[in-house]
C-alpha cells in the first residue's frame, strides 16, 4: 500500500538533504541531466532511494531545490541582504546594458547552462514545476527590473504610460528567446542592441 501519511519534517536529516543536493548538481554537471537518475543521485549521495521519494515529488524538483540553494549561497556571499543589487546610476540605458550583459555571461557559463536548460525544459512541459521554476528562480530577478523601470519612470527616463511588467519583458524576452532556441549566439553586442532598440523604438 502507498504510505499517504505526510512525513514528519522535524525529524528530517539535514545531512541527507545536503548530500542529495550536492549529488544532483554534481551529476548534472558530469553526465548531463538525462543520466541524472534518482537511483544515481541516491547512490552518489550514499542515501536510500526512499529518502528521495519521501521528500521530493520528482527528479526535477530535487535539482530545482539544489540549484536554488546554490544561488542562495552565492548571493549570501556577496550581498548582505540576500537580494542582488540592480544598478541605478541615473543612466537607464547603461544600467540595463550592464545587467543584460551579466545575464548573457551567466547564460553562456556551462556550469549554469546545463541545470538551467534542464529545469527550463522540464518546466515547459510540466506546469507545476514550471510555476515553481519561475517563482523561485526567475521572478526575483524580474522584480528587480520592474523596480528599476519604475524608478526610471519617476525620474522621467521612461514613458509613464507603460506597464513596467511589459517593458521588462521587452528586454528579457529577446534574450531568453535566443538562448533557449539557440537561433544565434548570445553576445554583449546583442544585449546592447536590445536595450537601444527597446528604448528608442523601431519607428523612425
Amino acid at each position: 500500500m502507498a504510505d499517504n501519511r505526510p512525513p514528519d519534517a522535524s525529524r528530517r536529516s539535514e545531512s541527507a538533504r545536503r548530500a542529495i543536493h550536492d549529488a544532483a548538481l554534481a551529476l548534472v554537471a558530469e553526465v548531463g541531466y538525462p543520466r541524472t537518475t534518482i537511483e544515481a543521485i541516491a547512490a552518489r549521495a550514499g542515501v536510500g532511494k526512499q529518502t528521495i521519494y519521501r521528500w521530493w515529488p520528482s527528479r526535477a524538483a530535487v535539482l530545482l531545490e539544489a540549484f536554488v540553494g546554490l544561488g542562495e549561497r552565492a548571493a549570501g556571499q556577496s550581498g548582505t541582504d540576500g537580494t542582488q543589487a540592480f544598478p541605478d546610476t541615473g543612466d537607464l540605458a547603461a544600467d540595463l546594458k550592464a545587467v543584460l550583459r551579466a545575464t548573457v555571461d551567466e547564460l553562456n557559463d556551462p556550469a549554469f547552462e546545463a541545470p538551467t536548460r534542464a529545469l527550463a525544459a522540464e518546466g515547459i512541459v510540466d506546469p507545476r514545476l514550471g510555476a515553481e521554476f519561475v517563482q523561485k528562480l526567475l521572478e526575483p530577478s524580474l522584480q528587480l527590473y520592474a523596480a528599476r523601470l519604475r524608478a526610471a519612470q519617476e525620474a522621467g527616463q521612461a514613458r509613464a504610460d507603460i506597464d513596467p511588467r511589459t517593458a521588462l519583458e521587452l528586454l528579457v524576452g529577446p534574450l531568453t528567446h535566443r538562448w533557449l532556441l539557440r537561433t544565434l549566439p548570445l553576445t554583449h553586442e546583442y544585449a546592447d542592441a536590445i536595450v537601444d532598440h527597446a528604448l528608442r523604438g523601431l519607428a523612425p
Copy 2:
C-alpha cells in the same frame, strides 16, 4: 551486430511512414508526450518497432517530422505557393498586431500547444533536435517578419539603421517568453502592447 548500412530509401513504405505520423500526433494529443512512447506509436500504427528505429533517430524526431508534415498540409490548403502570406497594408503596426494576435491564438490552441511544447522542451536540451526544430518550424515564420520589416524600412515606416533580425526578435521574444514560461496569460492585448512599445520605444 548493429546494422550500420543505411537502408534503401527508395524501397521505403510510404504507408508505414504516414501511419507512424498519424499515430504519433494522435497519441500526443490523447495521452500527452511522456506516454507517447515508441512502442505505443508502433502498436497504434500497426508497425514493428524496428521500422521506426530504422528511419528515425529518436521519438522527438518522429513527432517533429509528423508535425511539420501537418503544417505543410495545412499551408498547402490555404495558399498556393506553400508559404503563408504576411499582410502588408502599409500600416506596419496594424500588420504586426494582426500576425502576433494570430500567433497568440495558435499558441493558446490546445491542439498545437501539446506537441509544440514537447518539441520545444526537447530541443532546449538536445541541440541537434533544437536546430532542426528551429530550422523546420520556427525559421520560416521568422523570415516573413524579416521581409515585412525590410519593406517597412524601405517605405520609411521603420528606422533604417536597425538589423531586421534583431527587430523581429524584439517582437517575437516577449511573446515566446510568456508562452514558454507561463509567467502571465497570453492575450491579444499583450500582443498589441508589444507592438506599440517596440515601435515607439520605452524612452519618453
